[in-house]
């Protein structure tokens, strides 16, 4: 079917080896006029170099405070089919595994209630159903619940859809069951997810090991990263096989040819603490100095594995720049066992939220609140002791806020008796 609009600029994005979203939208436009107008809006933006969408009033489904982003075209005169073009965030199954059955159900529902366009997936991890009208929100939501066993994800000042790396499902390095943890948190905190009640958004992300394949430390207010405390497991024979050129280093990530791995140069010299020794026969790792960076394991996946005493490091506070600048998460719990029902962890989370809720300003992420009020207040609120693992280095400014109860004799003093000792 020929489209009625010309899109000469967008058309330039159909060629080339990378998949073309333009071709794809065109394909959908055959069934959905909204997609044709969507292309029209895009083409206009390409001509004018300005976007054409705007925020609107709050739209959503009954009983939920989020999960839908209201969006309106600022040229409804030209593109009436996308005059209203809201997105629905649908909470992804943890690890983003699907059966084709599930996906087809989703497609059918979205064909009925929406534009037919999606994002697989949004940056937070949701399935993004891209473009529908206010009327369709509620029926679409219920169809998803009844037919696809699916629910809406987070938006606004609420818990956002937690997400995980694929973890134990297909990775030999997962120290924690990221999927079980994230699914449990998602289910446990459904209310927090659907009914914004906080100063701002809050995100959980969990990676099974320090490779952090879900970028938790950069993007999640609470980053749950798998780690271990005991020795790296070593298959010495396999180490020798790597050295001898019998295996493919890095599991093929740097080329799929077998070659002799230079263990000194490619592994030990790049170990951040140089806590390893290789005498040509035996690889020794001095665990007390290992910082579990994963490099040696990454390079020799058939010879090394994380230890058996596994758990997670909890880091808090990552966020994008708005307002005070971007933050990475910081270590708050160096090590915690993560076994269901995760009670210790959840107690920590509740204490953290209570403190944030009580003290946070409007649009202040937890990381910014810790910055503003200081780590001490935060640690005291969550009842944790200070630990050097929480810091890169101790303070270097001398501006120490001692508390009154720490100072012998307290702060109450008497000017008169001071002046008895020191004349003015």
């Amino acid at each position: 079917m020929a489209l009625k609009r010309k899109t000469p600029l967008l058309d330039e994005l159909e060629s080339g080896p990378w998949p073309s979203f333009v071709s794809d939208i065109k394909r959908m436009a055959e069934k959905k006029p909204a997609c044709e107008d969507l292309l029209g809006v895009m083409e206009l933006s390409y001509e004018e170099k300005e976007g054409h969408w705007k925020h609107g009033g709050i739209v959503g489904v009954m009983g939920y405070g989020g999960g839908v982003i209201g969006r309106y075209c600022d040229r409804p005169d030209l593109f009436p089919e996308v005059a209203h073009f809201h997105t629905m965030r649908i909470n992804q199954p943890t690890g983003k595994y699907y059966t084709t059955e599930k996906l087809r159900t989703l497609c059918d529902i979205w064909e009925e209630f929406g534009s037919g366009m999606t994002n697989m997936h949004g940056s937070t991890g949701d399935i993004i159903l891209l473009g529908t009208t206010t009327d369709n929100l509620e029926p679409c939501f219920q169809a998803l619940a009844h037919e696809a066993d699916m629910d809406i994800g987070g938006s606004g000042s609420a818990l956002r859809s937690p997400s995980a790396c694929l973890g134990k499902s297909r990775c030999e390095w997962a120290c924690i069951d990221t999927q079980a943890i994230i699914n449990d948190l998602t289910q446990t905190f459904q209310d927090e997810l659907h009914r914004p009640a906080w100063p701002y958004k809050f995100k959980f992300k969990s990676s099974g090991c320090p490779n952090d394949c879900v970028a938790a430390v950069a993007r999640a207010d609470c980053s749950i990263v798998g780690t271990w405390r005991d020795d790296i497991r070593i298959d010495q024979e396999a180490v020798r096989a790597y050295a001898g050129g019998e295996l493919v280093p890095s599991g093929g990530a740097h080329g799929t040819e077998k070659r002799a791995l230079d263990i000194q140069k490619e592994v030990i010299d790049l170990c951040p603490t140089k806590c390893m020794e290789w005498d040509g026969k035996k690889l020794t790792i001095y665990t007390e100095n290992c910082v579990r960076c994963m490099h040696c394991i990454n390079v020799m996946p058939r010879a090394l594995w994380p230890g058996k005493d596994v758990g997670a490091t909890i880091l808090i506070g990552a966020k994008a720049p708005i307002l005070e600048g971007a933050q990475l998460s910081s270590v708050i719990i160096p090590f915690i066992k993560m076994e269901p029902p995760y009670d210790e962890f959840k107690e920590f989370v509740e204490k953290m939220w209570d403190w944030w809720d009580e003290n946070g300003r409007n649009r202040e992420r937890i990381g910014e609140l810790i910055q503003r009020l200081g780590m001490r207040q935060f640690l005291e609120a969550v009842e944790l002791e200070p630990d050097p693992r929480m810091i890169k280095m101790p303070r270097y400014n001398p501006y120490i806020f001692f508390k009154e109860e720490e100072v012998e004799g307290g702060w109450k003093r008497d000017v008169a008796s001071y002046r008895k000792r020191h004349q003015a």
Binding site: D24, Y46, E50, L103, C107, D151, C171, E172, C293
Partner: protein, 368 residues
């Protein structure tokens, strides 16, 4: 309410249980994987303690995806994967093959579908670009998202289908300073930026925004309340912006639709380099400014594409094996980075925000 009655309304059911959608071989070997190997770019095998194997074929996804496209994916997955697939954290599609004999036919099939399912994105190459909405759906973008991603990936395609770079190169794009994505910690980041202070629509500002919220939104306290006399003589509550204090973050516009920033000439791209997320070898770190501004050049953003290629090529030429972009720069020094890439060092590169001091060079150690 559509076809479901109010009485039957389901809420707070959460997402479907992931366990129910895993391929049987994964269910069986869950947590029992022994090792993996990338057999060729885009094709992995994971081997379990039990000896069981699962093959993965990774295909580039352009993230924005029609249901027609998803149905095509399903058709393929049914044919070769017993109906099992997944998406990666960087929006690639992973076809999960339990039956080894179906691996080659799957690859052939994918290859036969034009540019729809390029295979690659593993190991020491360029994988999919994490990105955001852009002109396709968001209200605050300074740039498009999908179009730039397409242009850049077309250009870097050879690195998607090979593993010959010194290490993984993670590229991300965010269309405004909200940075929806890990743009602040990527090997290369493409960021949409505005460069003109907000327009102020005095005639409707008070009606559409809460003035105190708009004021509080500004990180540099550039916004002050102001009474304004309109052309018709009416005095209204509005705001004024101390323009030299504005750094175009757009947060005022997020809070107040009567303060738009978008502008064809003002908007464009800043490129950032050297961030990473993994803890491998070196700790996670932010991306740093490489190019302060490149104009928007739809439909294929040639200057941006070229600048990124320059960076990737300099890195390919100079990086040592395992060295991420940021590790490479740390070794050669920023002074050399600007030399080998031919990028210009400008005033904008020198930080002047809150933590600026921590980025200045307080040592005589540098290279001439």
């Amino acid at each position: 309410m559509g076809k479901y009655e109010y009485e039957d309304r389901l809420t707070d059911i959460g997402p479907p249980l992931y366990k129910d959608m895993l391929p049987p071989v994964i269910t069986k070997n869950f947590g029992q994987w022994k090792y993996h190997e990338i057999l060729e770019p885009g094709v992995l095998v994971h081997v379990a303690e039990s000896g069981d194997e699962i093959y993965t074929v990774r295909a580039g996804g352009c993230r924005i995806m029609s249901i027609e496209h998803i149905r095509e994916i399903c058709e393929i997955a049914d044919k070769y994967c017993d109906g099992h697939l997944r998406f990666t954290t960087r929006n690639n599609i992973e076809f999960l093959v339990s039956d080894k004999s179906k691996l080659e036919p799957l690859k052939k099939d994918l290859a036969s579908r034009g540019n729809k399912f390029p295979i690659g994105g593993t190991g020491a190459g360029v994988t999919n670009i994490v990105h955001t909405q852009g002109w396709l759906h968001c209200h605050t973008p300074a740039i498009d998202a999908s179009g730039i991603v397409k242009a850049v990936m077309d250009d870097l395609f050879e690195y998607f289908t090979s593993m010959k770079l010194p290490a993984q190169v993670r590229i991300s794009l965010a269309c405004c300073l909200n940075m929806c994505g890990a743009v602040h910690c990527s090997d290369i980041s493409i960021l949409g930026i505005h460069r003109k202070p907000p327009l102020i629509e005095h005639d409707r500002l008070d009606a559409v925004c809460e003035v105190p919220l708009a004021i509080a939104a500004c990180p540099t306290a550039a916004i002050k309340p102001k009474k304004v006399k309109l052309d018709d003589g009416k005095e209204v509550k509005s705001v004024e912006v101390n323009e030299p204090r504005c750094m175009f973050c757009g947060n005022c516009y997020t809070m107040c639709a009567a303060m738009p920033l978008a502008d064809a000439q003002g908007d464009g791209i800043a490129l950032w380099v050297g961030g990473k997320v993994s803890n491998s070898r070196t700790p996670p770190t932010f991306s740093k400014l490489a190019v302060p501004f490149i104009p928007n050049e739809p439909p294929r953003w040639p200057s941006t594409v070229k600048a990124i290629r320059k960076i990737v090529e300099a890195y390919a030429a100079g990086g040592k094996k395992y060295e991420r972009v940021g590790e490479w720069i740390a070794r050669i020094g920023w002074e050399r980075f600007f030399e080998v890439t031919g990028l210009e060092f400008k005033h904008q590169h020198i930080d002047d925000y809150r933590l600026a001091m921590t980025t200045w060079r307080t040592t005589t150690q540098f290279k001439f």
